[in-house]
């Protein structure tokens, strides 16, 4: 088995373990390359099916191609697709694009808060109706106790110390200094009432591994990652107002792999196009607060 085979095997094992142990399980799908690979791995683990609901937090500022792609794939792959949002902040214009908050507060409103309340079931969820081919309010409101997330350890310092199964208390906070042990292939699958577990099947993957796997499996990826002729492409996807493309000639998956291997991008952080990371405390502060 080569390195990609081993990564795939580990991720599939983790996904099956999560599916076996958690009654109310969901998987976050940000539409980006990592969580799309994760979705593909779920199809690997469950022999073509995805028996786990997918949750997307729609900030309504996402780049429009992302939403089109999300709904197309959801219908094609017969996904149990759910989205949630922060209706109050959007209606009250408590966002950065409205000019009423800074970027970090906007992230907290439209992402962290929306995510927390969607997972807990306090705020409405919308589910893709495959007959009607549109979203309808979801009547299932039980909290999700297991949440599968596509974070990678190489993305940034605090993520490098994550566990595969990482508990969060009811306030969603993460105690980095006192994480549960994981010995061999045995993970934390028992949890006290009121707590939930984040599951990270992609921890050991690097950005390059992700692209190599996309190439090997021919996974359909949203076109924003590729240069469409203007010499730029997105390397990391987010909300339109806070995400900028990088300069890059890569038009195909192969060209992205070559670009990454050439070392041309080693000096540029993967999330360098994400403006919120550069504000006070950045990603680690957001993450302690429940951000993915």
């Amino acid at each position: 088995m080569n390195h990609l085979d081993k990564l795939e095997a580990q991720s599939v094992y983790i996904l099956r373990e999560a599916y076996r142990e958690f009654k109310n399980l969901c998987m976050l799908w940000s539409i980006g390359k990592d969580s799309t690979v994760l979705l593909w791995l779920a199809r690997k683990a469950f022999f073509g099916h995805v028996p786990i609901p997918l949750v997307h937090i729609d900030t309504h500022y996402k780049i429009p191609e992302m939403i089109t792609y999300r709904d197309r794939v959801a219908l094609e792959w017969n996904l149990n697709m759910i989205y949630g949002e922060n209706r109050a902040a959007l209606d009250g214009r408590q966002t950065f694009p409205d000019g009423n908050t800074d970027r970090l507060v906007c992230c907290r409103h439209l992402k962290s808060e929306a995510l927390k309340r969607t997972l807990s079931g306090e705020w409405p969820r919308y589910r893709m109706d495959h007959e009607l081919k549109r979203y309808v309010p979801d009547d299932k409101r039980e909290p999700f106790t297991g949440v599968i997330v596509g974070v990678r350890a190489d993305e940034e310092g605090s993520r490098s110390k994550e566990r595969y199964f990482s508990p969060r208390d009811s306030a969603n906070s993460w105690d980095v200094g006192d994480q549960p042990p994981e010995f061999w292939n045995q993970f934390k699958t028992d949890f006290a009432p009121g707590t939930h577990v984040r599951i990270h099947p992609l921890l050991d993957w690097t950005e390059l591994n992700i692209w190599e796997y996309i190439e090997r499996e021919q996974i359909p990826i949203v076109s924003l990652y590729f240069n469409q002729g203007d010499g730029t492409r997105y390397r990391s996807l987010g909300c339109a107002p806070c995400t900028n493309p990088i300069e890059s000639p890569s038009r195909t998956v192969r060209e992205i792999i070559e670009e990454l291997e050439s070392g041309l991008l080693t000096n540029v952080a993967e999330r360098s196009g994400r403006a919120q990371d550069k504000e006070d405390g950045g990603l680690e502060t957001l993450r302690r607060d429940g951000y993915m």
């Binding site: 088995m1 390195h3 085979d5 081993k6 795939e8 095997a9 599939v12 094992y13 099956r16 373990e17 599916y19 076996r20 009654k23 199809r43 690997k44 683990a45 469950f46 022999f47 073509g48 099916h49 028996p51 017969n78 350890a153 190489d154 940034e156 310092g157 605090s158 490098s160 110390k161 566990r163 980095v176 200094g177 994480q179 549960p180 042990p181 994981e182 010995f183 061999w184 292939n185 045995q186 934390k188 028992d190 949890f191 006290a192 921890l203 050991d204 690097t206 591994n209 499996e217 070392g263 080693t266 000096n267 540029v268 952080a269 680690e284």
Partner: protein
């Protein structure tokens, strides 16, 4: 390849990795400068370790608290380097890191010499099954790059490793701070003719020997996605050892059921004819047999795993609360879960001095020892010496993994926990003054515990209720107990999301013991009972008798049911068969519909 780096606190693990990343150009360019700048600002000397200690707490304390992963690539392969904390307080984090490594770098400070955790980590790495260990003698700059100092330390530590049966791959003298023998050979130590650290990494081998071992697939789950229009019933899991081909016969343990592989299933790959160790896979079987997650699928002709309830193991404990003999714990071995008790502490080991001590009554945090464990239900496992991956386990205490161990010996065959419990129970059993013979005379029948079992939805409940009704109309003292009654009554304290199968079974058996003692014909219907369930109920109901009726499918491998009904097409006819059997066995005298 996963490599873990271990050793005593401050001996320079993070520095070795920082240097390795810097010297192989694996860092984003800004990173090195940013850390240098921040050191300058805070007027502290720059250290390569700061590159890794990413979290705020760690920067403040200058120690690694949790394991971190670092990624880099050489021409020959991808590496994940796991930086494990050296501080004793964070032993559970060190074990978490080391347990998923294929090789270990053990760092010892040349100046400070062998310290407590140099030994403890060496011992732990061996126990966790990491077979390739290279020792880095670090901070050679502080001892003047002296060959003599290096050789002395090497001899001393080799002697220690020999005691715990570890044969190190190599010893490398390095100075991580100065970059000697990390990526490039050091000119200051021309006497060292071995590889650099970077060279050594590429020399570690990945285990192909797992393919040659007897086939083992711990069953992780059984899938049937009928609602998505898929009729395949797939037995899923990751192969821990060996290879298997399409069409081969397979055996599941501990249930003892057999079948043949009808197909090897996968998504987005060419059709597979065989699968080997390390691969996550799935099979459909040629016959519909009922198996549970947690069983081990093996090849009948291979050396077999052990099956039992009592074993001797080497264990390390990292729980906040000591491990005690008074408590029940959850055991996770492969994909199996079982209720387990600590039966005996044979000895505990001081890993630094290798002294054994006896007579401890509990395992305290960070204790390592040899213990005897007992599970309530039989499980399948291997001895770690024969098959590591199916010979190790963890113990969960209060929702958290609190210990781990490797199986040394199967001790099953003696009195089980259940047998001991029943012996004690019977010794204390308090009866009234009505003798059984009087009850039988008045009732005009003997007592019996009737268990009707089979797959869900086969009419077991209707049969049980009608049986109760008919027996009652015939003057019998009888009672049907529904499982919902148990769930919402006696069992209402058992949390639903924990399966608590053992405890539910025990309570049912205890109840049967009382009802049969009261002279009744006590009837219940349970889904999919296996040999173990029946044996347990039988034991618990002892000294009274049990009668087992299987419906639709007989899942019992060892015991024969008293009666097997292919299907219940006619209730009256089915009841007549049971009544005939009761008459034949002289439980009831006669019976009329």
């Amino acid at each position: 390849m996963n490599i873990v780096i271990v050793g005593h606190v401050d001996h320079g693990k993070s520095t070795v990795i920082g240097r390795l990343l810097a010297d192989t150009g694996s860092l984003p360019e800004g990173r090195l400068e940013a850390v240098r700048e921040s050191c300058l600002r805070n007027s502290r000397p720059f250290e390569y370790a700061f590159l890794l200690d990413a979290l705020k707490d760690e920067q403040a304390q200058g120690i690694t608290i949790d394991t971190a992963r670092c990624f880099f690539k050489t021409a020959s392969r991808d590496y994940i380097i796991i930086d494990a904390p050296g501080h004793i307080e964070f032993l559970k984090n060190m074990i978490s890191g080391a347990s998923r490594a294929e090789a270990a770098l053990l760092v010892i400070d040349a100046n400070e010499g062998i310290r407590e955790n140099s030994k403890r980590h060496g011992h732990m790495v061996a126990m966790l099954g990491v077979r390739q260990v290279t020792v880095l003698v670090n901070k050679m700059d502080l001892v003047g790059y002296s060959e003599e100092a290096f050789e002395k330390l090497k001899a001393e530590y080799t002697a220690y490793l020999r005691q715990i049966d570890v044969e190190p791959v190599s010893f490398i003298p390095v100075s991580a701070r100065e970059g000697d023998n990390i990526a490039e050979s050091s000119e200051l130590m021309p006497w060292h003719d071995g590889p650099t650290v970077l060279g050594q990494l590429d020399l570690f081998t990945t285990g192909r020997e797992l393919h040659e071992k007897p086939f083992r697939l711990p069953v992780q789950d059984i899938y049937k996605f009928t609602s998505s229009g898929d009729d395949r019933r797939i037995v899923a899991g990751t192969i821990e050892a060996g290879t298997i081909r399409n069409g081969e016969e397979v055996l599941f343990l501990p249930s003892g059921k057999r079948s043949h592989i009808a197909s090897i299933e996968s998504f987005n790959t060419p059709r597979k004819e065989s699968v080997s160790a390390g691969e996550p896979t799935g099979f459909t079987l040629s016959t519909q047999i009922y198996i549970r997650p947690g069983e081990i699928m093996v090849r009948p002709g291979d050396p077999q795993p052990e099956v039992g309830t009592r074993f001797r193991a080497n264990i390390f404990w990292v729980g906040r609360v000591p491990m005690s003999k008074e408590k029940e714990y959850k055991l996770k071995l492969g994909t199996a879960r079982a209720t387990v008790r600590l039966a005996e502490i044979v000895n505990t080991l001081d890993a630094a001095e290798l002294n054994l001590s006896r007579g401890k009554q509990q395992l305290d945090c960070r204790d390592v020892g040899e213990c005897i464990f007992e599970t309530t239900r039989p499980i399948a496992f291997d001895l770690a010496s024969r098959n590591e991956t199916t010979g190790r386990f963890v113990i969960v205490d209060n929702y958290e993994i609190a210990g781990g161990g490797i199986v040394l010996e199967n001790l099953s065959g003696g009195e089980t926990l259940l047998e001991r419990h029943i012996r004690e129970r019977e010794r204390h059993w308090e009866t009234g003054s009505v003798p059984t013979s009087d009850r039988e005379r008045v009732n005009r029948h003997r007592s019996k515990f009737i268990v009707i079992t089979g797959p869900p939805g086969t009419g077991k409940r209707a049969l049980s209720r009608e049986l109760e009704n008919m027996l009652f109309r015939n003057g019998c003292s009888t009672y049907y107990l529904g499982m919902a009654t148990m769930e919402h009554g006696i069992d209402s304290d058992l949390r639903v999301n924990e399966k608590n199968v053992e405890e539910r079974l025990r309570r049912l058996g205890e109840l049967a013991r009382i009802m049969t003692d009261a002279g009744m014909i006590f009837i219940t219907a349970i889904d999919d009972a296996d040999d173990y369930d029946i044996a347990t109920l039988k034991l618990l109901n002892d000294p009274h008798e049990i009668l087992v009726v299987t419906v639709s499918r007989n899942d019992l491998q060892n015991a024969e049911p008293d009666l097997h009904l292919e299907e219940i097409s006619d209730l009256v006819e089915a009841i007549e068969q049971i009544a005939d059997l009761l008459t034949l066995r002289e439980i009831i005298v006669d019976y009329q519909i």
